[in-house]
């Protein structure tokens, strides 16, 4: 028996606006959102896991840098949700292109489009769920989200290269391809794009409060809220989760290693010169909140241990286990006068969940590296 292709596709679409102008107009914004998402994501990846050659070159300024870039990462990812759905709506009829495969080249093109759509949906889905601390998948989020980001960037560049003639011909309202489309679709398309714009605005305004404190009143759907949390600051890892109890801290001492090692009691730390800084906690999950911190400069502690003016630091938490129990701090962070071993938060002694008796607060760094319950500091 010979298989013959039916003469037409199984589904046909009568609706308007499934055209290259709509795909280009939405694609431009989607491409921009994806580019911002990729750039800020790679930056965050290297801030969090710097390779050896980079560790001492990572800048500690601007102090708000990571707050901005990671806030943008999550915001551009959220903004991409309506854009991606609208884009896929615009091109959905092409899924039923007939015949399904015309040539080898066409087959490869379709495979690359499948990879693009898969990677785009996957990144937005896993990223969004991660901000809600929901991990239903059987793989490790960080390396997989990172790998698929490269897959997505690659497939997107390829997509733009393949579609370039159409993109160019429909880039503006007055491009030749746009003018060749039914003129009556113009106002309808503008209304559609206005609706998509409104959706981008709505998802942004109702979530941005998690990182832009001034927008807190509009926050409806952010997974964190700046107005929730002891001492005015949300918490990620609690003392209970880290197995830290008041009893386990009863005879706490800070040990500082280096050419001239020493130990300090909390009283002795409090007797050292104290400094006040205003720095944000900026979580890799996108939320952030500024706070006032008081404590001892890390560089003063390192210097007293005989660490030179270019000493870097290793910080060890008292928590029993955890991916970030031991934290490496590059030279520029360790020597920044804003980097503190903080004892107080917003005018009060640190609460246990915020890292009592002492925690790190440094500028321009992901929150997981702001080590809590510090027990040991090493000048290196």
């Amino acid at each position: 028996m010979r298989f013959t292709l039916p003469p037409g596709p199984p589904v046909t679409f009568k609706a308007r606006l499934h055209d290259a102008r709509t795909a280009t107009a939405i694609g431009r914004w989607l491409g921009l959102a994806m580019a911002v998402c990729f750039a800020t994501g790679v930056l965050s990846h290297y801030l969090q896991h710097p390779p050896g050659w980079l560790a001492d070159r990572l800048p500690s300024r601007p102090y708000w840098g990571y707050r901005l870039t990671q806030g943008l990462h999550v915001a551009s990812g959220i903004a991409a949700v309506p854009l991606l759905l609208a884009k896929l709506w615009a091109v959905y009829p092409r899924l039923f292109a007939w015949p399904p495969v015309r040539s080898l080249r066409h087959a490869l093109e379709r495979i690359s489009v499948a990879v693009l759509v898969a990677a785009a949906l996957f990144e937005l889905f896993t990223g969004l769920l991660n901000t809600f601390q929901w991990y239903p998948w059987p793989f490790n989020f960080v390396p997989v989200h990172y790998a698929v980001a490269w897959l997505l960037l690659g497939a997107l560049l390829l997509h733009v290269a393949v579609q370039w003639p159409l993109i160019r011909d429909h880039f503006t309202r007055r491009s030749p391809g746009t003018l060749a489309l039914p003129a009556a679709d113009g106002p309808d398309r503008r209304q559609l794009l206005l609706g998509v714009t409104a959706a981008v605005g709505a998802v942004t305004l109702t979530t941005a409060g998690q990182s832009v404190t001034a927008l807190g009143a509009l926050e409806l759907f952010g997974p964190r809220s700046p107005s929730h949390g002891a001492q005015g600051l949300p918490v990620n890892r609690t003392a209970a989760a880290a197995r830290i109890t008041p009893a386990s801290l009863a005879d706490w001492r800070l040990t500082v290693h280096g050419p001239r090692p020493y130990t300090l009691t909390l009283e002795e730390l409090r007797a050292m010169p104290q400094h006040d800084v205003t720095l944000p906690i900026a979580c890799v999950e996108g939320w952030s909140k500024s706070a006032h911190w008081t404590g001892v400069r890390v560089r003063d502690l390192l210097e007293r241990a005989g660490g030179g003016a270019d000493a870097r630091a290793r910080v060890v938490s008292l928590e029993a286990a955890g991916a970030y129990r031991v934290m490496e701090m590059g030279r520029l962070y360790a020597q920044d006068p804003l980097t503190l071993l903080a004892l107080r938060l917003n005018g009060e002694e640190l609460s246990l969940d915020h890292g009592y008796p002492a925690r790190i607060i440094a500028p321009n760094r992901p929150g997981v590296l702001q080590t809590k319950w510090v027990g040991r500091l090493e000048a290196a």
Binding site: F13, V81, P82, L85, L88, L95, A114, A118, L121, F122, L128, T131, F132, Q133, W134, W137, P138, F139, P143, V144, Y146, A147, V148, A149, W150, L151, L153, G154, A155, L156, L157, L158, H159, V160, A161, V162, W164, D188, Q191, L192, L194, G195, A198, A199, A202, V203, T206, E219, L220, F221, G222, P223, R224, S225, H228, P234, V235, N236, T238, A241
Partner: protein
């Protein structure tokens, strides 16, 4: 060599790098299932649902254009980003994770969008009736 070849080549290189990174993961086929699953759920469920809603509306004589369509886009988008908070099972790590009343907020947002749409349609109809009467009077 032109802009398209350079961009396409760069794209292939980045995608290959990403694919290679994925293959370094334990059990990469599990990741492939989730990648394919995302496409299957979108193309096989979410998109047909949207087209079915449009077809039903058309069958009922409703033209989904202008503000009502924009309202549906906004409502759908807000629902998409609110769903994780609404559906997430299990407790949270601490009370500062998911501290808001997401169900209430979602209902509020949907009600606000519906109200806006209805008021807009009513104003529009009233305006049209007024201009028609004015036209007739003239």
């Amino acid at each position: 060599m032109n802009f398209r070849h350079v961009t396409g080549g760069l794209g292939l290189a980045c995608a290959a790098w990403g694919g290679w990174l994925l293959l370094q993961q334990p059990e990469p086929w599990r990741i492939a299932v989730w990648l394919g699953g995302a496409v299957a759920v979108h193309d096989g469920f979410i998109a047909p649902l949207v087209f079915a809603v449009a077809a039903l509306a058309a069958a009922a004589g409703l033209r989904l254009r202008g503000v009502p369509r924009a309202a549906l886009i906004v409502a759908g988008s807000l629902t998409a980003i609110a769903l994780p908070a609404l559906l997430r099972p299990g407790g949270t790590a601490n009370p500062t994770v998911l501290p808001l009343d997401y169900l209430r907020n979602w209902l509020l947002a949907m009600a606000a969008i519906a109200l806006f749409t209805v008021v807009h349609a009513a104003l529009h109809a009233a305006l049209r009736a007024l201009t028609r009467r004015a036209d007739r009077g003239a």
